[in-house]
């Protein structure tokens, strides 16, 4: 049985989380296999919410499957598809199933996904969602109505930040609002430049929040260049691109694992932040290898 995520955060250990992306459809064999590999290697397992606005199995039942398998799920909740009524209903439903860890996100826009004509909701944003959760913990819903009965939920609530957003000032202003709204843990967008990340952490350290650096496994130099050109807030420095490009033929993935492992080890040894969130994007079976490369297996 996995330890509760908030206990892992409070224990002061170097926390590791990874993520599972549910499939489109009902063939869950591969997903169950990923859950099996990951559930005991990490302190928390995120389940993405229609990631990139591509319709997939919803997060709550997948969190339940992780829980039944003995893992510790983290429910990712975006504001793209559900209004405030549906969001709160989902949170209460998660809580009664024992799912208490929630990562609050605004969500990608509808047109970047595969249902471009769907109606975008965005009734709330990540900040207001965190506030809504705070309210539920006090027995009040977003409209101020009191709960029936005495029971009150407690959630372990998190948010995200992009440490290399450009410009950075509006991002930091929003980061502070997320903390004000009750964020207890932060998973960052993927970082590659540890010097820049250290500078961000100097600023972020003054807030009472646990910060986990986002690690995205590089599989090729082409992937790094693609992300630099197309993904906001991700900057893979030239020396890492060169290192990936210089890998032996057929060994690019192994190089990516080595780089990820090295970064995680540095973050841990130099106590730069409180943990890491590993996004293996399709290569979930390599997460144990990454942890081994980091000396964390």
């Amino acid at each position: 049985m996995a330890k509760a995520f908030n206990e892992a955060l409070e224990s002061g250990k170097f926390v590791v989380t990874a993520e599972v992306g549910p499939p489109k459809g009902v063939d869950i064999e591969e997903m169950k296999h990923h859950i099996e590999i990951l559930k005991d290697t990490v302190d928390g397992l995120n389940v993405t919410d229609n990631q990139s606005s591509v319709m997939r199995i919803s997060t709550l039942p997948v969190c339940r499957l992780i829980q039944e398998a003995g893992g510790e799920p983290i429910l990712q909740m975006t504001c793209r598809d559900k209004n405030r009524i549906a969001l709160q209903a989902e949170l209460l439903g998660a809580y009664i199933l024992g799912i208490k860890n929630v990562l609050c996100l605004t969500g990608d826009y509808v047109t970047v996904g595969d249902h471009v004509d769907a109606k975008p909701v965005f009734d709330l944003d990540s900040v207001l969602l965190l506030e809504a959760i705070k309210g539920l913990e006090q027995g009040k819903d977003f409209a101020g109505n009191e709960f029936t009965g005495e029971a009150r939920p407690t959630f372990c609530k998190g948010a995200i930040v992009t440490p290399e957003a450009n410009p950075i000032e509006p991002q930091l202003l929003k980061f502070e609002k997320k903390i004000k709204a009750g964020a207890e843990f932060i998973q960052t967008q993927a970082i590659y430049d540890l010097d820049n990340f250290k500078k961000f952490m100097e600023y972020a350290r003054k807030f009472n929040v646990k910060i986990m650096a986002g690690i995205v496994l590089l599989v090729s130099a082409g992937m790094a260049k693609y992300m630099n050109a197309n993904v906001p807030g991700i900057f893979v420095p030239k020396d890492l691109i060169d290192e990936m490009a210089g890998a032996e033929k057929g060994k690019a993935l192994a190089k990516g694992i080595e780089i990820a492992g090295r970064m995680i080890k540095t973050l841990k040894d130099e106590k730069i932040c409180d943990g890491v969130h590993i996004m293996a994007i399709g290569k979930e079976d390599k997460v144990p290898d990454i942890l081994a490369a980091a000396g964390l297996a």
Binding site: V112, D123, E169, P170, K174, A181, P232
Partner: protein
């Protein structure tokens, strides 16, 4: 002003399939300014329909007229004698004008020639951009005169989102990130504190559908 654009020609032509006499009615206000449904556009559409029908060996008589505006009964009444001569009407007004014309002349089918798009401004000749969503709860005082509902793709009140990139929106390098614009404007005005506090959620109950407003002076006394 209201900004609209003409529907694809094929779509309009298909609407009046089987008609022999149509009246094309333009509007002299917003849609004239944004070059979608004014007098010139009425002439163009009527000519195109005549040419297209004739090229297919069919007859079409297309009458042309442009009203001051179609959202006022006073002007719509001007066509009451003319309209009986026609099988159908094509209105080149915005959605509101089309409906008002259809309501007044409900024994004639009224077709819309335009797709009404947004409330916006003229950036330069031939180019208009959206600025207002008519949300009935204007927050421009807090955001330094930049609307997050109309300009932010996601309509966020606590932005920016994680997709913002170099001041541009996640959707396209051509779209500005509203919240970067708001940040910069408030910074310039020394009013960043406006957005340091958490902006409360939007109140959608004030946006009734359909909306209705009665001026105080015209309200009936109890």
């Amino acid at each position: 002003m209201i900004v609209a654009e003409r529907k694809p020609f094929e779509e309009i032509k298909a609407m009046i399939e089987g008609c022999k006499k149509v009246l094309v009615v333009g509007c002299g206000e917003c849609v004239s300014v944004c070059m979608a449904g004014g007098e010139k556009e009425v002439q163009i559409l009527a000519s195109q329909l005549r040419l297209a029908f004739e090229e297919e060996g069919k007859e079409l008589e297309a009458g042309e007229t442009t009203l001051e505006r179609q959202c006022d009964k006073e002007y719509l009444e001007e066509i009451k004698d003319k309209i009986d001569d026609y099988d159908a009407v094509i209105s080149m007004a915005c959605g509101a004008g089309v409906q008002f014309l259809a309501e007044m002349y409900d024994s004639k089918y009224v077709y819309p020639a335009l797709n009404t798009q947004f409330i916006g401004v003229a950036e330069r000749e031939g180019e208009w951009s959206e600025r207002c969503r008519a949300c009935s709860d204007c927050v421009l005082a807090e955001t330094g005169g930049i609307c997050p509902i109309a300009v932010c793709a996601k309509g966020l009140l606590n932005g920016p989102c994680g997709g913002t990139n170099d001041g541009k929106c996640e959707l396209s390098k051509e779209k500005d990130c509203a919240w970067t614009l708001i940040y910069n404007r408030l910074n310039k005005l020394g009013k960043l504190d406006n957005i340091r506090e958490i902006f409360p959620a939007k109140k959608y109950s004030v946006q009734t559908t359909p909306g209705r407003r009665i001026h105080e002076a015209f309200k009936e006394k109890e």
